[in-house]
């Protein structure tokens, strides 16, 4: 082999081994899958106007408007309003997700036509709502892999009665049709496709074959003439492409770990954090080979845990106000705000705000020598 061939081979090998950057697709896609990923990105980045169906109530005019940092598919600085009514005395259906009012998402923007008709600037909350859940925008990197984790894997970590007496329960949430939930801050939505399809209507006000009905204004029908675009406003194949883009986004590659970070990984486990932040989940069978039987370093169990009264806000399906899904930590090094509402600006603050089932781990973190605490944070910043 001559020297040039060797250099070319080394360069090629280097490119092939370069970890995916934020916004890249997962490795190993077929040409057809890659083409769908690229076409899906175009749908994801499409900006909707009122003429083509935006709103009349909406939180953003495109998917990419909120999923934007550091690249399309990443998180955003938007914080939206979710609401629900909790009736613990109503056995079997304690959480009213305000389905009669269009669901738990209350949009913060309206089109000029709706403003002219009703004089509102955002969707009013229904009477009786006393608690609002504020939700920051998470990135969606690696969500296709989370979708590919079999239900049985998630359920294998559930311990709702704390039979092992470690203080950590973990119980599954379920959608209103009984399916196991996994997406959203309270693990309510069962599949990535549902998450994406529902978001077009709930976040952008775009109807589709999947969600053909336009939203209401806190349960009241839209005034005539305020939604002139014919339904459905998005075609089935456009929905499929947007889903393909999100599904095939690669999880962020962890950063190279220093000696301190490697020590921090051990401290993380010793403090019991891995009781909920399970380091890796394994996917099952999947139509996309690149998602099939893969290990994803998600650092979550996708289950609900009581996080204590300080973080509590609204119920969601079976989740009580103080229960939240274990937040995946993959991509943490890209985050600038933490927790479900972005109230923490550093990982340390986020840990300090843990309560409920995480109280013991939080207290262990507090009691650590300064060097160990620093090591644990250094580790988190590599994820």
């Amino acid at each position: 082999m001559n020297r040039y061939a060797f250099v070319a081979l080394a360069l090629g090998w280097g490119v092939a081994c370069k970890p995916p950057q934020p916004g890249d697709p997962v490795r190993g896609l077929s040409k057809a899958e890659r083409a769908r990923f690229d076409s899906g990105r175009a749908v994801f980045e499409s900006t909707f106007t009122a003429a083509v169906g935006l709103g009349p109530l909406f939180n953003g005019s495109s998917c990419a408007e909120c999923q934007e940092e550091p690249v399309v598919g990443g998180g955003g600085d938007e914080v939206e309003r979710h609401a629900a009514l909790f009736h613990p005395e109503r056995v079997g259906f304690a959480c009213d997700l305000l389905a009669a009012q269009g669901g738990p998402v209350f949009q913060d923007s309206v089109t000029p036509l709706l403003h002219a008709a009703l004089g509102i600037d955002r969707e009013p909350l229904p009477a009786g709502v006393t608690t609002v859940g504020r939700r920051s925008t998470p990135d969606v990197f690696g969500f296709g892999l989370l979708d590919a984790v079999p239900d049985s894997v998630i359920l294998s970590y559930a311990d709702p009665n704390d039979t092992n007496h470690d203080g950590i329960k973990g119980r599954p949430n379920r959608f209103v049709d009984g399916r196991l939930g996994r997406f959203g801050r309270k693990a309510f939505v069962p599949t990535l496709r549902d998450f994406n399809d529902g978001a077009f209507q709930a976040e952008i006000g775009i109807t589709s074959p999947s969600v053909p009905e336009e939203g209401s204004v806190t349960g009241r029908p839209l005034p005539p003439g305020t939604d002139p675009a014919p339904d459905p406003e998005l075609k089935e194949h456009e929905l499929e492409l947007a889903d393909a883009f999100v599904r095939m986004l690669a999880p962020p590659s962890p950063l190279k770990q220093s000696r301190e970070a490697k020590h921090g990984r051990e401290v993380f486990a010793r403090a019991g954090c891995t009781g909920c932040h399970i380091p890796a989940l394994r996917t099952g069978d999947n139509p996309i080979a690149a998602l099939r039987h893969k290990e994803v370093a998600a650092y979550t169990d996708l289950l609900l845990h009581d996080m204590g009264p300080d973080l509590a806000d609204i119920c969601f399906g079976l989740a009580t106000p103080s229960e939240f899904r274990t937040e995946p930590l993959m991509g943490l090094h890209l985050a600038t705000k933490f927790l479900h509402d972005g109230r923490a600006t550093t990982p340390e603050q986020a840990i300090e705000l843990h309560g409920g089932e995480a109280t013991r781990s939080r207290d262990l973190f507090r009691a650590l020598p300064a060097a160990d605490r620093a090591a644990l944070i250094a580790f988190l910043k590599t994820l």
Partner: protein, 133 residues
């Protein structure tokens, strides 16, 4: 033979005349009876959020992702209500349904509340369901 033919003709003609009279009297002018319109059929799978056994009404919460909606249903006494457990179907009463039951309902009608043909209980939100949708 003639008498039989006359009777047969009368049997054929009389109902048509009566129907035509009915149409005239109700509309004020002669017009062809409209063809019966097809009642739309639909189905829903979701959780019972409200049930009123006395009024025989049920509200089912359903949706896609965070885009949720409610389907109000009227349950006539003739509707079939069944419980599915371990692959076996058993008849149950409306009063046996509870909040949080996951049901699959078939219904028809033009406006809410829609009229139920069948309700099948397939699980509960708290415990999940046996089958995939």
């Amino acid at each position: 033979m003639f008498r039989l033919a006359l009777l047969f003709s009368a049997l054929l003609i009389v109902p048509h005349s009566a129907a035509a009279q009915q149409t005239r009297s109700s509309q004020g002018k002669p017009q062809a009876a409209p063809a019966p319109a097809a009642v739309p059929h639909d189905s829903v799978r979701g959780a019972i959020r409200v049930i009123d056994v006395r009024k025989r009404t049920v509200e089912v919460s359903t949706g896609v992702g965070y885009a949720l909606r409610v389907v109000p249903l009227q349950v006539p006494a003739s509707a079939s209500i069944k419980d599915r457990k371990g692959g076996q179907l058993a008849n149950i009463a409306l009063a046996d349904l509870k909040l949080g039951d996951v049901v699959r309902a078939r219904f028809g009608g033009y406006a809410a509340p829609f009229v139920v043909y069948t309700i099948e209980r397939i699980g509960r939100m708290t415990t999940g369901v046996d089958s995939t949708p």
